[in-house]
């Protein structure tokens, strides 16, 4: 019964711990000295990039590389006075992905006053379509990712009243598949990243009752491979960012104990770049802030107490969620 499984083999000398100093330097230096072309190439995701880097630093108990005033001021200048939305960087159009990232950063630093909050509320509200779904920007691409961004943003601002939540739930429910998972739109293939978005959405809206809990938990557990890593769909390679999405989903479902935590920890630790710092998608690949924040967050969910506790719904430090007195729904074991 030889079956070829798409997976990787871990090397021998895997770091036993999180390489804090290296990661902190990696994040702080990212885009400063290093590889400036890449920095310029990624201006379309600058604010989200800041969220990944700054959240990673906070979870590692490290201070940000700039003052909170500087960071807030930058975000403030990315807010479009007309629509109220926030863009990835100056001279770009606003997008809901960056709007959420901006709000997450400002909540972390308790400095929402830096932006026009009512403008953000108006922006998100205007992205909702009659069927309850959300577009990401004025061009109308619909995706369950944007449903999550919308409710995550508004709940952080304590303004869920601005949208039609029931219709929003109906749309997300219509994206539930026969295998228990969720896709980007109705009948789109189940995908771990989108499952996280939909469960995150349902956690914020307190509507996890619509989930086929056991079926979905099994589908998520099926993502674990012999290397310990998790993939995002059947027959795909393991990847650190999927470790986060699958793990946070299982946590929301109250089924975290179903995973082989030790094997997964080993896989995630193996994705650290021992020279440059940072986490990569897989061992030996080039590290980046995106996989770094999700690697650290996943280790936090797995109980690593050398980093701060992360909230599985918002991917933000738990102490921030507590300060905001938010209680996203998490199912009991």
């Amino acid at each position: 019964m030889a079956t070829i499984i798409k997976d990787i083999t871990l090397q021998e000398n895997i770091p036993q711990n999180i390489l804090f100093e290296k990661h902190i330097d990696f994040i702080k230096e990212y885009g400063q000295k290093e590889n400036n072309f890449e920095y310029a190439m990624t201006d379309y995701l600058r604010i989200s990039g800041m969220y990944w880097g700054l959240t990673a630093l906070e979870l590692m108990n490290a201070s940000p590389p700039h003052t909170i005033e500087e960071i807030s001021d930058y975000i403030k200048h990315c807010q479009d006075p007309e629509s109220g939305g926030i863009s990835s960087c100056l001279n770009h159009d606003p997008h809901i992905l960056h709007t959420l990232s901006a709000v997450q950063i400002l909540c972390m630093y308790d400095n929402l006053k830096a932006i026009d909050v009512e403008g953000v509320v108006k922006y998100v509200k205007n992205l909702q379509l009659p069927n309850g779904s959300f577009t990401g920007d004025k061009w109308g691409e619909v995706d369950t990712r944007f449903s999550f961004c919308a409710v995550a943003t508004l709940s952080l601002l304590n303004r869920m009243d601005a949208i039609d939540v029931n219709k929003a739930v109906d749309f997300v429910a219509s994206c539930k598949n026969f295998d228990g998972g969720f896709g980007s739109r109705p009948l789109s293939e189940s995908h771990a990243g989108l499952i996280y978005c939909c469960l995150g959405f349902l956690s914020v809206t307190n509507r996890l009752d619509i989930v086929d809990r056991d079926k979905l938990a099994w589908w998520l557990c099926e993502r674990q491979l012999p290397s310990g890593g998790l993939n995002g769909r059947p027959e795909k390679l393991p990847d650190v960012c999927y470790s986060w999405w699958v793990l946070s989903s299982l946590t929301i479902l109250g089924k975290l104990h179903c995973i082989d935590a030790n094997a997964l920890k080993k896989f995630i630790l193996a994705c650290q770049d021992t020279e440059s710092g940072g986490f990569a998608d897989r061992p030996g690949d080039i590290p980046d802030p995106f996989h770094t924040v999700f690697g650290i967050s996943a280790l936090s969910l797995l109980g690593n107490d050398t980093v701060q506790k992360v909230n599985p719904t918002y991917c933000m430090p738990q102490h921030v969620i507590d300060r905001l007195q938010l209680k996203p729904q998490i199912l009991d074991n």
Binding site: N36, Y74, C89, D93, W139, F178, P226
Partner: protein, 325 residues
């Protein structure tokens, strides 16, 4: 027309050296005194985007602006502002959108995992109301990466919007012949049937037959088993009462097959029967417990914790003692 965007092109002329751009003052990336700026990227890139920023600020709708966005899009197709501005210009100048289809097709074939290029394509198809090239384009992309999520999403949108379901099941079949574990293709199968005939009794019978024969070829196939379970959602009798499926499953088990997916479905059949009051004594809590143990210890050790959890929940529900506690 020469392709300005190619870095390898010796004839490439920087915008600052093009006479038709001499009236524009390029606008360097200004991150508003934000300290994380340090720019030293390639000259072409900086040159193009400095002019791009300048022209966006002017909101200029012109041929040269259109050409500039072409270079900018080629240099960085993920930059969503470039595409949005380009669409404004296309509309403003009333351009031939078929040419634009060809342009974006070239970029899609190089950058097929990029949200912006696919969205641009979708908007063009909407404007043109012409889906005739979309199946071919997505097939081209899927021939290189059969699970490309963007391509599938685009294909589903086109098929649904323009009612192009004809022949789609044959295409799915083709993909499954190539890779029987292609989860995207199985999902597409569900999409087509759900949106056309629906899962009538007759369709259900045929689909179960089809799926069982695919499982027979390779039994360790998560996607096919999941599809089978998806089909049985439409069987009013449930997961554990379909005689064809039951016969198949038992025959496979008898032949000493121990695919985790086979054992897992028997576990669920047992639990369904037990939950419904145990009509079929072949599907008992005791059998489920034994299978979970086998899965945990021998056949699906990666998921040992999952099966332990399953054992615990069977124990607490059926009152049977398990090794868990």
């Amino acid at each position: 027309m020469s392709d300005y965007s190619s870095d390898e092109n010796d004839d490439y002329v920087l915008y600052k050296n093009r006479p038709e751009w001499s009236d524009i003052t390029p606008l360097a990336q200004d991150d508003n005194e934000e300290p994380i700026v340090a720019i030293d990227y390639t000259e072409n890139f900086k040159d193009c985007y400095d002019y791009f920023r300048a022209i966006v600020q002017k909101k200029e709708i012109s041929e040269r602006a259109l050409e500039l966005t072409q270079t900018a899009a080629n240099l960085n197709p993920a930059n969503y502002t470039v595409w949005q501005y380009r669409r404004d210009i296309l509309k403003g100048l009333d351009k031939d959108l078929h040419e634009e289809l060809e342009f974006v097709e070239k970029i899609i074939l190089k950058q097929s995992k990029n949200y912006q290029v696919w969205h641009h394509r979708k908007v063009l198809v909407e404007w043109l109301k012409d889906p005739s090239k979309e199946k071919y384009l997505t097939e081209h992309v899927l021939s290189k990466d059969a699970k490309n999520y963007h391509a599938w999403q685009h294909r589903q949108w086109v098929i649904k919007t323009f009612k192009l379901y004809d022949g789609e099941l044959d295409y799915v079949d083709l993909l499954l012949k190539d890779d029987i574990r292609n989860n995207s293709a199985w999902n597409q199968r569900y999409f087509v049937i759900n949106n056309t005939t629906g899962f009538t009794e007759e369709v259900l019978r045929q689909e179960i037959e089809y799926t069982l024969s695919r499982i027979r070829e390779i039994t360790e196939n998560e996607s096919a088993w999941n599809y089978l379970r998806g089909l049985l959602l439409h069987d009013k009798a449930g997961l554990s009462n379909n005689t064809t499926v039951k016969a198949f499953v038992e025959e496979l088990y008898e032949s000493n097959n121990r695919s985790p997916f086979l054992l897992a479905i028997i576990v669920d059949m047992c639990l369904e029967q037990v939950g419904a009051g145990g009509g079929d004594s072949n599907y008992s809590a005791k059998r489920a417990v034994e299978l979970c143990k086998d899965l945990m210890e021998k056949f699906d050790t990666v998921r040992a914790n999952y099966w332990q959890h399953m054992l615990d929940s069977i124990g607490s529900e059926s009152g049977e003692g398990t090794s868990g506690n």
